[in-house]
């Protein structure tokens, strides 16, 4: 059986008046059914752009190379009709900022029903209503909430509606882009609980995008860390969070301290400087200007993504083979 999603050497370049902006460079990802893959990084690192290529949602000014294989078929070259079938039914996205993505003047049940009607125009109203009720229960809301308007729901409930909508056409892959960023800790825990339960119950694959490595470590099987449009580290989530190889991944994991860790008390950990501008990337390793371990050699060439053991890779010349 082929993997659910394989991305091979995917690069995406935005063409602007000032020249080409490489937003994503040579990204490789694999995701199976029943698996949660975390994609971590800061704003502008290219993680949402990577996700957009899965459904070919990138803007027309972008040039994409490489292959995005969904169940063996390349999304990038797929015929329009096949792509249409893929969106929602094959793969769906739970967008970030979902709290503002719902139409305020339509009942949430009708909004969940919309993709169902689109994919099966002949379906009876009764069946749709039953399906909407079932979806609401899957995300932990009573079926009667279908009649509510978005303003009658709390942030966590709206996020659950967005998840129900993404599940509406029984996709095999769900992309969750910062699904809990605007939510409180307790509501975040509730939503993550719903999402991980669905992956295991329904056997779907999930790509979860977040800047919070601690959330990903908790939920995902594997984590991919991006910086400046490239993958800088990937591996099993506990190792990437707990014993990161790449200095950037290490900094990202230290940014979310463990409560009770004496080393983090009165010692918040950050990185000086700002993330790189994709239009003006520094020479060599993009992270070198902010890297605590950088040496002259780092600025000379782009570091290769090297393997460290069977299931781990890092792109840093300072990391030694064990």
């Amino acid at each position: 059986m082929s993997d659910l999603l394989r991305m091979r050497d995917v690069s995406l370049t935005y063409r602007t008046e000032e020249g080409d902006v490489p937003a994503v460079r040579d990204v490789n990802l694999d995701l199976d059914r029943g698996e949660i893959l975390g994609l971590a990084g800061e704003s502008g690192c290219g993680k949402s752009t990577v996700a957009s290529t899965i459904l070919r949602l990138q803007p027309p000014t972008a040039r994409v190379t490489g292959e995005v294989l969904f169940e063996g078929e390349d999304v990038l070259t797929m015929r329009w009709g096949d792509l249409r079938a893929l969106r929602w039914a094959g793969a769906s996205i739970v967008f970030q900022g979902a709290l503002h993505s719902l139409n305020p003047v339509r009942r949430v049940g009708d909004q969940i029903a919309e993709p169902i009607h689109l994919h099966d125009p002949d379906i009876s109203d009764k069946k749709v209503e039953a399906r909407v009720g079932e979806l609401l229960e899957q995300v932990g809301l009573p079926a009667a909430r279908a009649r509510a308007y978005p303003h009658q729901l709390s942030g966590g409930q709206k996020q659950r509606i967005m998840i129900a909508m993404a599940l509406a056409c029984r996709p095999r892959l769900i992309v969750a882009d910062e699904p809990t960023t605007a939510l409180d800790v307790m509501v975040q825990a509730q939503v993550l609980h719903v999402l991980s339960g669905l992956v295991h119950e329904l056997g779907v694959g999930m790509l979860m995008i977040s800047h919070d490595l601690s959330v990903l470590a908790d939920l995902c099987d594997r984590i991919v860390v991006m910086y400046g449009g490239r993958v800088v580290e990937q591996g099993p989530s506990k190792l990437v969070f707990g014993e990161a190889l790449h200095p950037y991944a290490a900094a990202l994991s230290a940014a979310f301290p463990r409560v009770g860790d004496p080393a983090a008390r009165f010692a918040p950990s950050g990185l000086p400087g700002d993330p790189p501008d994709p239009a003006d990337l520094p020479p060599g390793c993009s992270f070198a200007p902010r890297c605590p371990r950088a040496i002259d050699e780092c600025t000379r060439a782009l570091p290769e993504l090297r393997s460290f053991g069977a299931d781990r890779q890092a792109a840093c010349i300072r990391v030694e083979q064990p």
Binding site: E42, S43, S154, G155, G156, D184, V185, M186, V187, Q188, A189, Q190, H193, H211, D212, L213, S214, V215, A217, D218, L219, F241, A251, L252, A254, A255, F256, P257, R258, V259, G260, D261, A264, R265, F266, A267, P268, S269, G270, L271, P272, D274, P275, R290
Partner: protein, 342 residues
């Protein structure tokens, strides 16, 4: 006087909803912030933490209780409010939205100074440009002169947050109230801004009240922490005490869902904070309380009290740790409790 610069004493704040119901957003909140200390006010959305911050700045008036500024109850005269709002500065969340996009960095930082006539009163006779530069340098924007004429869209998220902090520092405040100061920032920038708050505490002796839902942030920088639930402080004390030996089931649940704490079994509370127009009787947390749900409150014979008896926050133990919980009260009088989760 040292210590208590700004206090809330038994503060209640009420809002009338459109339907004419009274929502009790704050219900008897006690909180104090002194010079040179960072206090974290934590809780979920709807717990009232932002209302506490607004009330302490005089933006909301308490229905009962009082805000005490330098030992004197705030009388809401224009003169006193003006003074309060110079010496206590608010740093807003979402720096992208809080800055005027058509104003340069210099203008944004200088605006508050002009309103309060700071340059004319400067003891060191510095002019406005020097004062703006000094405030920006304190906020870590160096060299300030090179950033004077930039617009917000030309700055990174971290720089924008520093501009907001510089605007606050320009007025020479003694206390900063920061509402979710890093929640909209990237992970690597977050630590830098928190380190700046610590530096301001240490070098300028500033007091800081940080409103946040992030317990990791509190562990990073706060000397003391107060946990709010539905308009009330339910647990407060030194950060080490509250976060490492939480007494209230709500604090315990909040801690258990912080992703990186692996040794705790996550207690995911169901539902959300109730509407403040319908505060449950007894302990306001009892409908969601895991100790009531799993029968441990009943086993200790306090379940009846949890359901019916409203409770005050308990006096502090010798380490300054307060809690408002019938079960914790019982256990503190009957010796060390068993079945502790930490």
């Amino acid at each position: 006087m040292t210590g208590r610069l700004l206090e809330a004493r038994k503060v209640s704040v009420e809002f009338v909803t459109r339907g004419g119901q009274v929502a009790r957003a704050l219900d008897g909140v006690d909180l104090e912030v002194g010079a040179g200390e960072i206090v974290a006010l934590v809780g979920e959305s709807g717990s009232g933490k932002t209302t506490v911050a607004r009330t302490m700045l005089g933006l909301e008036r308490p229905a009962s209780g009082e805000v005490v500024f330098e030992g004197e109850p705030l009388n809401y005269s224009l003169r006193r409010l003006r003074e309060l709002r110079r010496r206590v500065q608010m740093v807003l969340q979402d720096p992208a939205g809080a800055l005027n996009p058509r104003q340069t960095v210099y203008e944004s930082v200088a605006e508050g100074m002009r309103l309060h006539g700071i340059a004319a009163k400067d003891p060191q006779k510095r002019n406005e440009i020097e004062l703006v530069a000094a405030a920006m340098a304190s906020a870590g924007l160096r060299p300030p002169e090179r950033l004077f004429l930039r617009y917000p869209h030309e700055l990174s998220g971290g720089q924008r947050q520093r501009v907001l902090i510089a605007g606050a520092l320009a007025l020479g405040p003694e206390l900063l109230i920061a509402d979710e100061p890093v929640s909209s920032l990237d992970a690597s920038i977050r630590g830098e801004i928190l380190a700046l708050l610590l530096k301001l505490r240490d070098e300028l002796g500033l007091g800081v009240l940080v409103v946040t839902h992030d317990l990791g942030l509190a562990w990073n920088i706060a000397d003391r922490i107060a946990v709010m639930y539905l308009g009330r402080v339910v647990e407060a004390g030194p950060t080490e005490e509250v976060l490492q030996a939480p007494q209230h089931p709500y604090t315990q649940a909040l801690l258990s869902v912080v992703p990186e704490i692996e040794e705790l079994r996550p207690v995911v509370l169901t539902g959300e904070i109730p509407d403040p127009t319908r505060i449950p009787g007894g302990c306001r947390f009892h409908p969601r309380c895991p100790a009531v749900a799993d029968g441990s409150a009943a086993a200790d014979g306090v379940e009846e009290a949890c359901r019916t008896l409203p409770l005050e926050i308990l006096p502090p133990d010798p380490r300054g740790h307060h809690v408002a919980c019938h079960l914790a009260a019982l256990r503190s009088t009957t010796g060390p409790r068993t079945g502790s989760i930490v």
